[in-house]
């Protein structure tokens, strides 16, 4: 089954979401793997799904590919219901699975061509796609080699090429750069960036927080099957770590002098020739800080936001979720 954009564009409707889940849940006997996940991802958006091992990321992906049936809730991919229209959903999704799942005795070009046939792509188009994708991922010269001879990174790139082969409107990537050397990982990250388009939504499940921050428009953190928080990287940092802090570098040492800041903010740390502060109203407050310091005789060399990593957000979110669970 080959899906053309016209097939799903009409179905996405007014809300414009390529991926939409509502209370999506999955239990295996008594084990609740995914519990009430609600996500809305629009065309052109990239969402990073973060979470510890066994948090429910892969189960969520499998429900979104109609491989697992939800125990509760609903999900739509490109406007197709994952329970009622499984074939259409699968045709609309390109998935990079946790395990590469390659056929070792096939040659790289044969492997891609086989999946192209499964997705109903015509022979001429398949030939050009095989050529383009292998070249794009630096596998052109290995096109005629057996997949069993490939390195881990090459296998990962071939699996990614397979996921993209039928140009799906929704792409689900489970650990896309794991087991890759830095150069290959960069290549894949660049490819993901290029995939971002007005007609496509992407979910990346990853443990690599830097990668998530670099690629994703939004982050969702999942733990014990539940989305514990979601938002833009900046929004999450603000929510989890409070307002941003700024560091003022002075030209001279403080030498025991204590700077005084205007009302509306407070100093959080000082050093020999610097100070750190925060305020809820960055735009209004920061110029006042500079003015006040200059007025008090300090010479300001620079002022910049103190960098905060997604790792801090993640650890805070996962930690507080654990604490809440214990408290309950």
């Amino acid at each position: 089954m080959r899906l053309e954009p016209t097939h799903y564009n009409e179905r996405i409707g007014m809300d414009g979401y390529m991926i939409k889940t509502n209370d999506l849940s999955k239990s295996f006997d008594e084990f609740q793997a995914v519990d009430g996940v609600s996500l809305e991802i629009g065309a052109g958006e990239v969402l990073a799904l973060l979470g510890p091992n066994g948090a429910g990321k892969t189960t969520t992906v499998r429900m979104l590919t109609s491989v697992l049936k939800p125990s509760r809730g609903e999900a739509y991919i490109a406007g197709f219901n994952v329970v009622e229209q499984p074939e259409e959903v699968r045709a609309a999704v390109g998935v990079l699975t946790e395990h590469h799942g390659l056929y070792n005795r096939m040659r790289a070009h044969e492997y891609l061509d086989f999946f192209g046939q499964v997705y109903g792509i015509k022979a001429e188009k398949r030939a050009s796609r095989v050529h383009d994708l292998l070249d794009h991922f630096g596998l052109g010269e290995a096109s005629d080699r057996r997949v069993g001879e490939f390195s881990k990174g090459m296998r990962q790139k071939l699996a990614l090429a397979r996921a993209l082969f039928h140009e799906p409107p929704v792409i689900l990537l489970d650990e896309p750069t794991s087991a890759m050397d830095p150069a290959s990982a960069k290549l894949v990250r660049d490819a993901i960036r290029e995939l971002r388009s007005g007609e496509r939504a992407i979910i990346i499940c990853t443990h690599n927080l830097t990668e998530a921050e670099e690629l994703a428009d939004r982050i969702a953190i999942i733990q014990n099957g539940k989305i514990i928080t979601q938002g833009t990287p900046a929004g999450l940092k603000h929510e989890m770590l409070g307002p941003p802090e700024y560091r003022v570098q002075l030209t001279d040492k403080l030498n025991g002098r204590q700077p005084v800041l205007p009302d509306g903010g407070r100093i959080t740390a000082t050093g020999a020739d610097w100070l750190q502060f925060f305020s809820e109203d960055v735009k209004g407050y920061n110029p006042q800080v500079v003015q006040r310091l200059v007025a008090d005789g300090f010479r300001v060399l620079s002022m910049e936001e103190v960098p905060r990593s997604l790792e801090q957000v993640y650890l805070q979110a996962v930690g507080s979720s654990k604490e809440n669970k214990h408290a309950q």
Partner: protein, 474 residues
Amino acid sequence: MLNSLRPVYILTRREVRDQMRDWRIIAPIIILTLFFPYLMTFTAERAVGFVQDFGADIIGDRLIPFLLMVVGFFPISVSMVIALESFAGEKERGSIEPLLSSPLKDWQLYLGKLIAVMIPPLIASYLGIAVYLFSVYRSVNWVAPTDLLIQILVLTFVQALVMVSGAVIISTQTTSVRAANLLSSFIIIPVALLIQWESLIMFWGRYDALWWVVVAELIIAGLLIRTGVSHFNREELLGRELDVLNFRWMWHVVRDEFVGEATSIWNWYGKSILPSLRRLRLPFALMLASLVGGLLVGASQISAFPLPPELVDPEKLDQGFIATNLESVRIFSGLGILFIFVQNVRAYILAMLAGLFTYGVLGVLILMLPMFIIGYLTATVATAGINPFLFLTAFVVPHGIFEIPAIALAGALILRTGASLAASVRGESVSEGLLRSVTDWAKIFLAVVLPLMFAAAVVEALITPQFGVWLLSR
């Protein structure tokens, strides 16, 4: 239709190509195709010469066609090994998930794999047969009759189909090749028994009977494929705990099916037994029809196998003769109740076990056997001038009132268990479906069949003989 078969072809072609690149599959196929037929020819040549020395030419005559069947069978045995690996192996290597995430429909995936695992061994098998025919012609100048050759070719195909469809079911229901191989005895043993039966038929020389074997195997293959497609479940294929013997879960399923929501024995009959009985209406009707069929088939055999006339002399059938002969059987007493009861329970349990492995067919045939005998005896006494309805009323009806419903019910349960294997209830695995059916069988058996059987045994031991003697002597 053709469009929906295209993905099957794509998948089959890939799988066949993949197999052809694996020397572990190719090596045995080549050996069995090119060298094994010559070995069989050599065996045939020597054996024919040897038995001719003792004037037993018939053995030689039967041995050559028999070896033709053997030459065809050996390469297709490889297909079972490939089929066992088909899903379990992909699951182990993790290559199944991209396929499951593709738009292939369940049946396309299933059929594609099923056909793929049959093609190379079947080609090898037919090549082997050709090599054998050529070499046996050169060595002993034997040419296979066309009808026999067609039979062997068809038989080889259906044997491959039975083995492969059974092995694919095992492969879809296990999480590793090791587990699939462990379960392969469920195919190897029945197929070995089948080959022995076919060998007997071939040495017997009743080649026409092989067509019945072909028909039976086609039915079994059809049921196995139905079972496979019905239980093919993407979710379970990705499950990780399928091989684990989960006693807790089993206990929950059994308790849920056996007790339900009942709080007392009367409540149990009302809430659990009655609904189960209602679900058995159709198989019960089918079973009743089968019993009537058994009776008629038994009666029809009188023309083929008549009893010697002196054994059915109506003059002898006076009250004294019947009473003396009944007494000599020694089961028509208080002790006889237990004997009859235990005997019947044993037969019903045996029928259930036989039914489990044959989709209920063999179990139903076992239960039809007494009706077959009754039909035969009734027809026999009818030929002796005794009113068959009087005979049935005298010796069958009194305990039959209890026993026939018991047999029909037991048969209905067996049929339903067979059906549950062939067609899954939505969301139920093979093991859960089977466990529920067997529990349902045990529940109805304990609650209804056993009491009916006990009542039948009491009547059969104490009332039927007296009543029969009284009625016939009037």
